[in-house]
């Protein structure tokens, strides 16, 4: 995909191309949850909340459901937080099921298509599989009721149960104002070759290593801890954002899940992302030329990371930096409030618009039923 076409797609304006109807759910599905814990607005899963707010005041919103192309259900499934701020997904399937029951009984539009023209924002670790542990997530699979709906999620990995055909992959939420506040003058010379801050071993959950990040992060540490070109450590420096702006390459390895806000930060700060996650599907892959912007590395090639990075031609490095400097690229990764043209909200709408017009088989024939409401683990069937 050449840059010209990708740039055009990024510049698309979705207004006028689609209409979205926003279901009015009782506030126990959204507002009350947020009131209970306002930390949900700042963590990396905040996209679900901001998407709701954006759609409420967006020109694509229509109050007439008959002329809507897409239906949005505002349910905040990733807002049940532990004291340390991590979302627990155990009630999410029931919550989603309850919401769908509500919309299918109060409005006819769900039953018309069994959700094929509905979309849901599920920014959790493994999307609509609603679990943080990969094996459990794979076991559960995508919530059966969402089988026909379009999922807007951060998780993306090819040939994985939790990524279904036609999903829209979005970047995780990163606070735009905070990143803006840490910008340094662009003429500051980039003097760090490779930069990374984060865990290499998750000692609490995987002390031996090899499980966490499929051993890739541990491999990075063991191979390059003594290499002066690699500025890697488990520090939490206050100058994290500034350091990224002084680096040429930023490592974005997988963790327990393949995606990470590091990718957003690297793009915003002009640091070339080195993506170490096999088969990952990156956000807005149909609009952003990730191959041209970033460097992809197979997990088995991690021991040769230094050879690979140093053998990149300087001209290629400059070209990637020039592409990264494109403001549309950076804008597409962000969820600013209020929304701005070409930001992530608009890219999501673009993605939805590109799926129109709906296929004929979206509408079910009368009496036809595809979804089975009794399928799924017993715990999910309890009311919420």
């Amino acid at each position: 995909m050449n840059v010209g076409s990708a740039g055009d797609v990024l510049e698309d304006n979705p207004v006028g191309k689609l209409q979205v109807y926003v279901y009015e759910l009782p506030s126990k599905y959204n507002k009350k949850i947020l009131q209970k814990d306002s930390r949900c607005l700042n963590h990396m899963f905040a996209a679900e909340i901001f998407m709701h707010r954006f759609l409420l005041s967006s020109p694509v919103r229509t109050r007439n459901p008959e002329e809507a192309d897409w239906f949005y259900t505002p349910v905040y499934t990733t807002c049940d937080l532990t004291p340390t701020g991590l979302p627990l997904p155990f009630k999410s399937p029931r919550m989603m099921r309850s919401a769908i029951q509500l919309i299918s009984s109060n409005w006819p539009y769900w039953n018309r298509t069994e959700g094929a023209d509905h979309f849901f924002v599920v920014p959790h670790d493994f999307g609509a599989c609603f679990h943080y542990q990969e094996e459990k997530a794979i076991e559960r699979g995508i919530l059966p009721l969402l089988r026909r709906a379009t999922l807007v999620q951060t998780f993306g990995q090819r040939n994985h149960v939790c990524l279904k055909e036609g999903s829209i992959t979005i970047p995780p939420y990163a606070p735009p104002q905070k990143m803006q506040a840490h910008l340094i003058p662009p003429e500051t010379p980039r003097s760090i070759f490779v930069y990374f801050r984060g865990l290499f071993y998750d000692v609490n959950n995987d002390p031996e290593g090899g499980y966490y990040a499929r051993g890739a992060r541990a491999s990075v540490w063991e191979n390059f801890k003594n290499n002066p070109l690699f500025d890697i450590s488990t520090d939490h420096p206050t100058t994290y954002y500034e350091d990224m702006q002084r680096s040429i390459f930023c490592l974005c390895p997988l963790g327990w899940a393949p995606w990470s806000p590091r990718l957003v930060e690297a793009v915003v700060f002009g640091c070339i992302p080195v993506i170490i996650a096999d088969d990952i599907v990156l956000p807005f892959a149909d609009a952003i030329p990730w191959e041209d912007i970033g460097v992809f590395l197979a997990e088995k090639d991690v021991p040769n990371l230094d050879t690979i990075l140093t053998s990149i031609e300087p001209e290629v490095v400059l070209r990637k930096q020039r592409l990264l400097a494109n403001p549309s690229m950076k804008q597409a990764m962000l969820f600013p409030q209020p929304a701005q043209p070409r930001d992530a909200f608009h890219q999501i709408l673009n993605g939805l618009a590109r799926k129109l017009p709906h296929d004929k088989n979206v509408h079910l024939k009368p009496g036809e039923k595809i979804l089975d409401w009794s399928v799924g683990p017993v715990g999910d069937l309890k009311p919420w």
Partner: protein, 514 residues
């Protein structure tokens, strides 16, 4: 990924306590429930649990793998370290056992709960940590990385820095004296770091000398070394005036050679910041920057009294430079207020009193070299001809004398708010002696005997060789004697602390007599 890691951590510990590890082991065994492999795993697991209980840390089943299997999973010479790390690392971790213990081998039987999905190349479960046999940087690659960094920085400079940079023409008056090497080396190193083309015009009072020449050629810069045939006077007044004449001489060279660029005046004892050189690229015809004036004196009491008097009106470090109004236009000049120092300033070079600058120092000005050319196309009409100005040399105090109208000066450094260089005059007494070129050759002529040798194991010869004072011997013999004397002293000083103090003591006396 950090927060999600944290979340995984605490949640996992919750979940793992709930989950039964034995549940998942059958999957790793290869499918069928009660196969011998599964039973074997169960027994092994139980054994390891017992061992762990006894030992007090987690004894992994991987150890058995290591002991019993010949590892066939060599991925082109890479180690897989998880077995090694278990024993070494986790002595303190009384952790739970995870599922799927086996090393990364065939992917097919790994994906738990496949649920009919096409098997991807990516496998869930424990993987080996790949480490190459020599996990250290390769020097060729490090050089390549540095080349990449250098290219990126060059591109950054091209994009955000100055477009079409001009040559910097630096004018430095100097003369040979004790502090010359100190001062000139400082300026030289600053100039060597300037990223633009540079021409260094060094005007030397007392004629061109080898001392100065050898010093400035070390810089590797393009230099023009001009001799000025008068000796530098002792009084500060006269010295300032002569320096002005030397600078005009340099400007005449610029005019004759038609050097093109931005002319700046770097006095050899001043300190320049790198931003100064970026800022002077912006000058159109004549610009002025703020200079920090560092006045100091030998006496600290004098300093204090001066500061107390002048504190309310003066800033802590007096600044000389352009004064702007709120719309960033030049309205006047901040000059040095010498009133507090009246009667207490230095008169002679090397005087212990405070050295005061002129009202406006040359160092704070930048000129477009075309201003001094005889003929330049767009030379503005408010500039006087250089030869005319040079005729009245004695009265030229600052580059403003070159202008008919001093309001055309452009204030640089965000309108004088940034101090980009510092003015300082530090000199030794005019009669202070120093080894020429700072090379001791021939060695010191007078050796003074050390009467008290504090070290007990002094060999008997040492005192006699030291007693050689002014005997007319051949210089080599003396050289060897003093050299061995010195080297012995040197080696001794490594062992004894007192020896070093004696060392210093003796050498001090040497320099005094020199």
């Amino acid at each position: 990924m950090k927060p999600s890691l944290l979340q995984q951590q605490s949640r996992r510990s919750n979940s793992f306590r709930g989950s039964n590890p034995l549940d998942s082991s059958p999957d790793g065994g290869g499918g069928a429930g009660k196969s011998p492999a599964a039973i074997f795993w169960l027994v092994l697991h139980g054994l390891c649990c017992l061992v762990s209980l006894v030992l007090g840390f987690r004894f992994s089943r991987l150890i058995f793998f290591l002991l019993f299997s010949t590892s066939t999973n060599s991925n082109t010479g890479l180690y897989q370290t998880s077995p090694f790390r278990t024993v070494a690392d986790i002595a303190e971790n009384l952790a739970f056992s995870t599922s799927l213990p086996s090393l990364d081998s065939s992917p097919a039987n790994r994906t738990t709960g496949t649920a009919g999905v096409s098997s991807s190349g990516v496998v869930v479960g424990r993987h080996g940590i790949l480490i190459r046999p020599w996990p250290h940087p390769n020097p060729d690659e490090v050089m390549k990385a540095h080349r990449i960094i250098e290219r990126v920085q060059r591109e950054q400079r091209a994009q955000y820095g100055v477009k079409s940079p001009r040559t910097v023409i630096v004018v430095t008056p100097t003369y040979v004296r004790t502090f010359q090497t100190l001062h000139l080396t400082g300026v030289m190193h600053s100039l060597m770091n300037v990223p633009y083309d540079l021409v260094w015009i060094v005007v030397e009072a007392g004629g061109v000398t080898n001392e100065t020449a050898s010093l400035i050629t070390k810089s590797g810069l393009r230099t023009i070394h001009i001799g000025f045939e008068e000796r530098m006077p002792i009084s500060w007044e006269d010295r300032h005036r002569m320096e002005a004449r030397m600078r005009l001489r340099a400007l005449r060279v610029v005019s004759e050679k038609k050097l093109d660029g931005a002319v700046m005046f770097a006095d050899d004892s001043n300190m320049h910041s790198m931003e100064l050189f970026d800022e002077i690229q912006k000058v159109k015809w004549i610009g002025a920057v703020s200079v920090g004036i560092l006045v100091h004196s030998g006496h600290s009491d004098e300093d204090l009294s001066v500061r107390n008097e002048g504190d309310e009106s003066n800033s802590p470090v007096p600044i000389q430079g352009p004064a702007c109004n709120s719309s960033d236009q030049l309205v006047g000049w901040h000059t040095f207020n010498s009133l507090p120092y009246v009667g207490r300033s230095a008169n002679y070079v090397g005087d212990r009193a405070t050295v005061l600058p002129r009202k406006l120092e040359w160092a704070g000005f930048v000129l477009n070299s075309r201003l001094v050319w005889k003929k330049a196309e767009d030379k503005p009409d408010w500039v006087k001809d250089l030869d005319m100005v040079a005729r009245d040399e004695a009265n030229v105090e600052s580059p403003l004398s070159l202008l008919k109208d001093s309001s055309v000066v452009e204030p640089l450094g965000s309108c004088g708010r940034k101090v980009l260089l510092w003015w300082l005059r530090v000199e030794a007494r005019a009669d202070s002696k120093f080894p020429s070129g700072w090379i001791i050759d021939p060695p010191l002529e007078v050796t003074v005997p050390a009467r008290h040798t504090p070290w007990p194991d002094a060999p008997p010869e040492l005192p006699t060789s030291e007693k050689v004072t002014s005997i007319k011997e051949s210089s080599e013999k003396r050289a060897t004697k003093t050299r061995t004397h010195r080297s012995r002293r040197g080696s001794r000083s490594k062992r004894k602390h007192e020896a070093r103090s004696v060392d210093a003591h003796v050498s001090e006396r040497h320099s005094g007599e020199n």
